[in-house]
């Protein structure tokens, strides 16, 4: 497919509009004026419309097909939330309003949504308070670790280390390092859980926090979680909950009850708001009682007379972490999602997500190695080691799935599983969809035995074949040049 720049034809142009009668704005200082042509392509309106329409048809999304990307909960984004986000009373509210004299009264609805969403998330996670401000999961993580740092500093404790299991998301050690901590990695034991003996050895009065994903990235709920949290607290450390996998335990268990002090949630994973290119993320952070006073400013408060306002009075706060108050449209969609599903609906979502993952696990375990063989939560992790013996690696399986119309599962993560294939179907998929996907996975296992080149040559039916990922990483070329 050609780039739009390559479709340039000298002299072609779209419709030009009549000039307005408005006076020209005062000119910029000439030193800022462009001297050379912009090099934008000349195209007709129809050229442009076709170009982008055809590009959009190459797009793969959860609205077009099954998207079983593990550890990332690519659930369907119900359309009623989009309609609500477009209500003018929300979409036309300027984010500066609450800070302007007399503006607060015009933003009451939006402030109430923020306040209520914080209350709902606090209830779901068992935390004392939330900030809705972080713009994405990783931003939430950094905010969370900064809260931990503020807490230790305020208590006069010198803490240097953050412990993370070797199965953790890469963002955990990255957030800890950016917040100024040294990271210590705890290995996974033979049973698939974080090695408790090794954890005890590394935990001491220099530990700031331990960061855990729960259920963990193997899709397993760690039965020692309470013990791990209690031991951390005894050492004066805090316990961080990476909420990437919260979908599995909605309404079943609450991080706050398990002893977690800080929680970040990905609204775009658990609460059905768009993911990736579909819209900005949101990574709200919840805290236990002892961390409330460090939350970023501003906080949404409900006054005695029932009105809502932004409160900037917090002298121990870590300060500003975002312009205005988070990605409001995303928060609104998550709020609508929670209200529409209700308590029972959210619990059912978690149950169906776990059931779907276990269905895939049960149907595929005869065909793929299962390094940690037990009932899983919302995702199951296979290994393609058996297929790799015939030269069919996890990457090859992923490419073949693309040819068959499926987004591949997560591959090569978690790092502790060789040739990992991490399948997360989510609750919104029907048994028919799962069965069709399972059939293709079984076909791949059979081809890996009988005709491995078929898999290794894939994809054959896509606009591009195998891309040279190594060259792309070693010599990235991100700009078109004539």
């Amino acid at each position: 497919m050609k780039l739009i720049f390559e479709k340039h034809k000298e002299g072609r142009r779209g419709p030009s509009h009549a000039k307005t009668g408005a006076p020209k704005a005062k000119g910029l200082d000439p030193k800022y004026l462009r001297k050379k042509d912009t090099n934008l392509p000349s195209l007709s309106e129809l050229d442009v419309v076709r170009h982008y329409t055809n590009l959009s048809r190459l797009n793969y999304s959860v609205d077009t097909n099954f998207y079983p990307l593990g550890s990332c909960t690519m659930k369907y984004n119900p359309k009623f939330t989009e309609r609500i986000a477009l209500f003018e009373g929300f979409s036309d509210v300027h984010p500066l309003l609450p800070q302007l004299s007399g503006g607060g009264v015009l933003a009451q609805g939006s402030l109430e949504v923020l306040y209520e969403t914080e209350r709902l998330l606090s209830e779901i996670t068992g935390m004392k308070a939330f900030t809705m401000q972080p713009m994405a999961g990783a931003h939430g993580e950094l905010t969370g670790v900064m809260l931990i740092a503020a807490y230790h500093k305020d208590k006069g404790r010198r803490r240097k280390f953050v412990l993370v299991p070797d199965s953790s998301h890469g963002t955990n050690p990255a957030s800890a390092a950016i917040a100024g901590y040294q990271v210590i990695v705890i290995p996974t034991g033979k049973d698939g859980y974080m090695d408790l003996a090794e954890y005890k050895k590394k935990l001491n009065n220099e530990t700031a926090a331990v960061m855990l994903t729960c259920p963990d990235t193997l899709g397993i709920f760690n039965p020692h979680i309470k013990e791990i949290a209690d031991m951390a607290h005894e050492a004066g450390a805090l316990v961080y909950y990476d909420g990437a996998n919260l979908n599995a335990m909605l309404g079943k268990a609450r991080p706050g009850d398990l002893g977690f002090d800080v929680v970040h949630i990905n609204l775009h994973k658990t609460f059905g708001t768009p993911h990736g290119g579909g819209g900005p993320g949101a990574g709200p952070v919840g805290v236990s009682e002892k961390l409330v006073e460090y939350l970023p400013i501003s906080r949404v408060v409900r006054r005695g007379d029932g009105t809502y306002a932004l409160d900037y009075q917090a002298h121990k706060s870590i300060g500003y972490i975002a312009p205005f108050y988070g990605n409001f449209g995303v928060i609104l969609k998550a709020y609508a999602y929670m209200l529409r599903l209700g308590r029972e609906g959210l619990i059912e979502a978690a149950e169906m997500a776990v059931l779907n993952a276990n269905y895939c696990l049960a149907k595929l375990k005869d065909y793929y190695d299962l390094p940690y063989d037990r009932t899983c939560m919302h995702e199951c992790v296979f290994s393609a080691s058996r297929q790799a013996k015939n030269g069919v690696h996890a990457l090859d399986i992923a490419k073949y799935l693309i040819d068959r119309g499926y987004h591949p599962p997560t591959i090569y993560f978690p790092l502790i599983v060789k040739e990992a294939l991490m399948i997360e179907p989510t609750e919104t998929e029907s048994k028919d969809t799962l069965d069709a996907f399972i059939d293709v996975m079984i076909e791949i296992a059979r081809l890996a035995e009988q005709d491995p080149t078929k898999i290794k040559e894939a994809p054959l039916y896509m606009p591009v074949k195998r891309l040279d990922e190594t060259k792309a990483a070693r010599e990235p070329n991100l700009r078109w040049r004539p």
Binding site: G170, V185, Y412, F413, L415, K418, E469, T470, A473, R474
Partner: protein, 129 residues
């Protein structure tokens, strides 16, 4: 699986070739083949004081980013700058041109914590079972 006889190995798949008070360090053939095509090496700094089993460098491949741990304690005295432009050297020649850094050993007794060729070979065979 290429495992030269003249060096020492860690469980994390680093090798060290020891000559007097100096050690040459890299990652093993097993490590490079499990990582796949390597796209970036984060080298230590010359003068860094490093401790046995602690983080000292990074290796990134198309599959994953992975830490390199110091096989011995001491001071980094030279790094292989060729790897900045040519990280693939670690894939092609893990034991010579793909060597990552050179260090001055501060505690020769720590050699006892490393595996020899035979021990490492049976360790790696155990992993792939």
């Amino acid at each position: 699986m290429d495992i030269p006889k003249d060096r020492f190995y860690t469980k994390e798949h680093e090798w060290a070739s020891i000559e007097g008070g100096t050690a040459y360090v890299g990652i093993t053939d097993y490590a490079q083949s499990s990582l796949g095509d390597i796209t970036f090496i984060g080298l230590p700094k010359i003068g860094d004081m490093i401790k046995q089993t602690e983080f000292c460098a990074t290796v990134e491949s198309v599959k994953a980013a992975s830490d390199v741990y110091a096989p011995l304690s001491g001071k980094v005295t030279a790094v292989n700058k060729d790897l900045v432009a040519h990280p693939e050297l670690v894939n092609k020649h893990p034991y010579d041109k793909g060597q990552i850094f050179v260090m001055e050993i501060s505690n020769p007794d720590e050699k006892a914590n490393l595996m020899d060729e035979e021990a490492y070979r049976s360790y790696v065979e155990g992993l792939s079972k």
